[in-house]
């Protein structure tokens, strides 16, 4: 059992096998192997407070279904089920996804990282640039000329209607 401490000093007790899904944590545990118990406490302060719970839920779900099984012999039904579960898991607002991506990046959890990135890109897909700007609240600091002429002509093929 190892203990994760979040930025708001909350403690999360997780089985080592479960937390091993984070390659960062696995490396830390590996480095400290054989030392005192106090060293089984890991600070994850760079992660937003509500995120560890989500990450642990994700770990637990995937712990029950290891990656190799998922690819080799998992039946079609189980794969569907996991897919459905993941769709539901990632179906949150873009704030949470943002934090999940940061957490997955710093803790090095490849499947969570890819899943969250894919979800964000799905949100952006088939939207106009204005909509994307609105969703992600990106401030448009281009000058009028840049926005109207320079940039569209830079990639003329992007703005044709045939993509629709």
């Amino acid at each position: 059992m190892i203990t994760l401490i979040s930025s708001d000093k909350r403690k999360f007790h997780v089985l080592e096998e479960v937390a091993n899904q984070s390659l960062t944590i696995r490396d830390v545990i590996e480095d400290r192997r054989g030392r005192r118990r106090a060293d089984r406490i890991i600070l994850v302060t760079n992660i937003n407070s509500k995120i560890p719970e989500k990450v642990i839920v994700y770990w637990l779900r995937h712990f029950l279904m290891p990656e190799e099984i998922a690819h080799a012999s998992m039946s079609h039904k189980k794969a569907e089920k996991l897919k459905k579960w993941e769709a539901k898991f990632f179906d949150t607002d873009i704030d949470t996804l943002n934090d999940l991506i940061l957490a997955a990046d710093s803790l090095d959890i490849p499947s969570l990282f890819d899943g969250a990135c894919e979800k964000v890109s799905d949100i952006l897909k088939n939207r106009s640039a204005e909509e994307v700007g609105e969703i992600s609240k990106i401030e448009n600091e281009f000058t009028h000329e840049e926005e109207e002429e320079e940039i569209p002509s830079e990639n003329a093929w992007v703005w044709r209607n045939e993509f629709a």
Partner: protein, 398 residues
């Protein structure tokens, strides 16, 4: 530390994470983010994976020029997917795209095209490739694969050929790939197929086609651990499958339209893979047979001993002959832990109807589910043997 109160959400992420997000988008959608803000203006260009298609964009050349040919050399390109169906692309254009991708250190390539023959040499010259997926029709006879000995890093290969004509030299091409571990072949059934490789661990082989008959299939794969084999309608040809696969652990075998004369081949195949731990077997008989034949095991011959088998799935139309064969097979599986029997019912049309027994359909029902045998194997055998009489009645009802 990220705070949710910050107004600009995506921009809190570092560039490399944003690039990953953009790489999941089709390139023409990702390119639209260039008008979001100054930071986003050139961000999309660094996406390590590109998907270029002629289907949605008649200005294929404009797009490919911008995102690939004029790509900043400091952005590595890891994966490229190329779909081209329009003949408007000049002959030398696609090779020039591939050459550029090569210089950017391409690792994963997927090509789906109409006439792939002229560009094969330029694909095979990309020696940094780790995975390659090709999908194309063969439109001319004497389609010969060039040598693949330059692809020394290639681990995963997938070839799907929608073909009328067979391909020559495919076996030699595969033999030349010295690091290949994962092979996925969907090819037209030819007279003879020989697959020989020292490195392949995972093989998925799907053969289709009706006009050409498969007669011989040799699998000489000393490192193979997982096998998926699907054969086409064998159409009354006598076929032979020889497999030399000493390390095989898991096998999925699906044979369609097995004829009475093929029983010998099925038995031989089963005995050559009898050391597996997991076996999933799906056999569909040629339904036009007037008399049901024992297709699974040849009568009067030694039955292979499945001494390592732990999991067995059998999908077949259970009638009196095949049922006995299943029982004999189970007797030879001393270490079986899990068994799944699925009764498949064929319709008289070309389609194969398929359903599992439902509650109350038959007394065999409890055995159609996954369950653990443990020490009850003998008792189970008795039960199976008893119910076989009832089962015959059930069979007549369909």
């Amino acid at each position: 530390m990220v705070s949710c109160s910050q107004p600009d959400l995506l921009s809190t992420l570092p560039d490399e994470l944003l690039i990953t997000i953009l790489s999941f988008l089709p390139i023409h959608i990702a390119a639209r983010t260039s008008i979001l803000s100054r930071r986003f203006r050139h961000l999309w260009e660094a996406s390590p994976s590109l998907y270029l298609t002629t289907r949605s964009c008649s200005k294929f050349v404009d797009m490919a020029d911008r995102v690939l040919l004029h790509r900043n050399p400091s952005y590595p390109l890891l994966s490229l997917r190329l779909d081209y169906y329009a003949s408007l692309v000049q002959d030398l254009y696609v090779p020039s795209l591939l050459a550029k991708a090569h210089s950017l250190g391409l690792r994963h390539l997927t090509v789906d095209g109409l006439d792939i023959k002229p560009i094969l040499p330029s694909i095979f010259s990309i020696n940094s490739l780790q995975s390659l997926s090709l999908s194309f029709p063969v439109l001319t006879e004497n389609f010969i694969f060039p040598s693949g000995s330059t692809l020394t890093c290639l681990r995963s290969l997938s070839i799907e050929v929608r073909a009328i004509y067979p391909i020559d030299e495919l076996g030699r091409f595969i033999y030349d790939l010295c690091s290949l571990e994962d092979l996925n072949l969907q090819i037209h059934a030819d007279d003879t197929h020989i697959l020989c490789s020292n490195s392949i661990r995972k093989l998925k082989l799907i053969m289709f086609g009706r006009t050409v008959r498969l007669r011989n299939l040799w699998l000489l794969l000393p490192s193979l651990e997982s096998l998926y084999l699907e054969t086409p309608r064998l159409l009354s040809s006598v076929f032979h499958i020889d497999a030399d696969v000493p390390l095989l652990k898991k096998a999925v075998i699906s044979l369609a339209d097995v004829h009475a004369e093929d029983v010998n081949a099925v038995t031989r195949l089963l005995s050559s893979i009898s050391h597996v731990e997991e076996l999933s077997l799906r056999v569909v008989e040629l339904w036009s047979e007037k008399h049901l034949v024992p297709i699974l095991l040849e009568p009067g011959k030694d039955v292979p001993n499945f001494h390592n088998l732990k999991r067995l799935d059998v999908h077949l139309c259970i009638h009196e002959h095949s049922f006995e064969a299943v029982i004999i097979m189970l007797h030879n599986c001393p270490n079986l832990e899990s068994l799944k029997l699925v009764h498949e019912i064929h319709e008289f049309t070309t389609k194969v109807g398929r359903r599992q027994w439902k509650d109350g359909d038959s007394k065999l029902d409890p055995y159609c589910r996954n369950f653990h045998l443990g020490e009850n194997v003998k008792e189970f055998m008795k039960l199976l043997a008893k119910t076989s009489i009832n089962e015959r009645h059930a069979q007549q009802n369909y």
